[in-house]
């Protein structure tokens, strides 16, 4: 069967999809997006986490046909997704900030990082530049940069799922407690058991996010 859906903001069409095929399989094997990892195939490990119409789900448990007409964001599109979100927020928050802050850096900073996290964004740009792995020539998403800076990546297999899940949590809950982080990431297993650094990375991303506002 044929499945039409949007992946990372672009309309896609997959042909000859087997009816029992998972969204994960379509993404990896038909769309050439191997960022979402295939590990347990039963929703236990979270390595295949993607956003489906904005909601984090295990793509191994979504039948390909169920994605028809829906929007999927994978780790490959996370940087662009985060940038768009930051731009939207900057636009919405610009007037508020103009009223709130009467001195200093009240203006909207135009640039790749959007208005939020301007100083931090500049620092990140110098330190890491564009990443060919994203394929977009974009700056990394803040959560991706935080994972690198905190040393939260070991073998890297669980990382894509964790990034998508953590990014969604920070979108919803900008000031998470440790318990919030643990719960939000409870569906993502790291076999290197690098959880402490992962916690550090999410805390770091949260702190940078709040500084940027």
């Amino acid at each position: 069967m044929r499945v039409n859906f949007t992946v990372n903001g672009r309309p896609q069409e997959a042909d000859d999809v087997w009816e029992g095929e998972s969204l994960l399989y379509v993404l990896r094997e038909r769309m050439g997006l191997p960022g979402s990892k295939n590990a347990c195939e039963q929703g236990e490990c979270g390595s295949c986490t993607v956003r489906l119409d904005g909601v984090p789900v295990c793509s191994c448990l979504v039948a390909a046909g169920q994605a028809e007409g829906r929007e999927v964001v994978t780790v490959e599109g996370l940087a662009e997704f985060a940038e768009d979100r930051a731009k939207d927020r900057a636009k919405n928050g610009a007037e508020e900030r103009a009223e709130d802050r009467t001195e200093g850096c009240s203006g909207t900073v135009r640039g790749s990082g959007g208005a939020s996290a301007s100083l931090d964004a500049a620092q990140r740009w110098r330190a890491h530049g564009t990443d060919s792995q994203t394929g977009e020539g974009l700056e990394l998403a803040p959560i991706q940069q935080a994972f690198i800076d905190a040393g939260a990546v070991q073998c890297g297999f669980c990382t894509p799922g964790l990034l998508v899940a953590a990014d969604e949590m920070l979108e919803r809950n900008p000031d998470p407690t440790d318990a919030d982080i643990r719960e939000a990431l409870s569906g993502n297993l790291c076999r290197c058991t690098g959880y402490e650094k992962i916690m550090d990375a999410v805390r770091l991303a949260a702190a940078r996010q709040s500084e940027g506002v």
């Binding site: 029992g20 039963q42 236990e44 046909g65 939000a184 409870s186």
Partner: protein, 296 residues
């Protein structure tokens, strides 16, 4: 395999009537596991994801009509007051990713004795709204589970909603597992106090071929609470009554030994959870009573 995509509930019923072997898929958290592992190759897979009605709920005077596909995360967020037991149980389901997809209809359709929603539904009191092209019927939750992963649905029927009685008193849910997330219950226990009818209802998961109520335990406790005037005087349940209740709950189990736990452990743990949930709910009931009296 054929993939059916009914755009409406009526289309889904018609498709199910035409292809009774069609396997409905909503959140996919059970069905896709079976397909991924090649344990199941249904001739027809029927996606219910396009039927918006299934993800809606209505809060009525006495009960909540909960659409079969309302995700657990929604129940946790929006129905904590009306369905506290089910909201607590929902929170113990797997992980955020799974709770974003799975719903009570899937738990009922799969009818695993380990389904987290079952003890809460049994304790609260619920009816399953099943429908086919032949008509609609409401199946009392006590009559719904017929065997290990078997339920009372006819081959042409689909679960549209579940009608759960709104809480009229404190409810609790407890589950034993190796960690808080991603755990299939070793065993689970739900308890609901119903001050309006002066009754207590229970639900036991993973400790018998089907989810069950501990009816003998309920009868004992109902009588003990009534005799002692506990509903009126709001006294603490005596330790001996709590122990007897716990023992009867344990005795209601008919568990097996498996990788998750032994039958003996399950019986023991159900007794412990019964005593604890009774204490939690009863203390909460007493607290509410005191607060009400204090205000009056």
């Amino acid at each position: 395999m054929d993939f059916l995509r009914p755009a409406s509930w009526e289309e889904a019923l018609a498709a199910k009537a035409e292809h009774p072997a069609a396997v409905p898929i909503a959140g996919g958290t059970d069905v896709m596991v079976e397909i991924n592992f090649d344990h199941r190759r249904p001739e027809y897979l029927m996606d219910l994801g396009r039927i918006a009605d299934l993800t809606e709920w209505e809060v009525g005077a006495d009960s909540v009509r909960l659409g079969a596909s309302v995700p657990y995360s929604r129940i946790m967020e929006h129905l904590r007051t009306e369905l506290p037991g089910l909201a607590l149980a929902s929170h113990t389901v797997a992980s955020p990713q799974i709770r974003n997809r799975g719903g009570v209809g899937g738990n009922l359709g799969t009818a695993s004795p380990a389904g987290d929603a079952h003890p809460a539904l049994l304790a609260a009191g619920a009816e399953v709204e099943a429908e086919s092209v032949r008509g609609t019927r409401r199946i009392p939750i006590d009559a719904f589970y017929t065997g290990v992963k078997r339920n009372a649905l006819e081959p042409d029927e689909l679960i549209r909603a579940v009608h759960v009685r709104k809480a009229d008193g404190p409810q609790q849910f407890s589950k034993v597992g190796t960690r808080n997330a991603m755990v299939i219950a070793v065993c689970a226990f739900g308890l609901a106090l119903h001050p309006a009818t002066r009754t207590v209802r229970t639900g036991i998961g993973s400790a018998a071929p089907t989810p069950i109520r501990a009816t003998a335990a309920e009868e004992f406790l109902n009588a003990a609470l009534e005799e002692g005037g506990f509903w009126d005087n709001g006294k603490t349940v005596t330790p001996s009554a709590a122990k007897q209740f716990a023992d009867l709950c344990a005795a209601a189990c008919n568990p097996i030994d498996d990788v998750r736990g032994t039958a003996d452990y399950r019986r023991h743990a159900v007794g412990v959870m019964a005593r604890r949930t009774l204490t939690w709910t009863w203390e909460s009931y007493r607290g509410t009573r005191r607060a009400t009296e204090g205000a009056a």
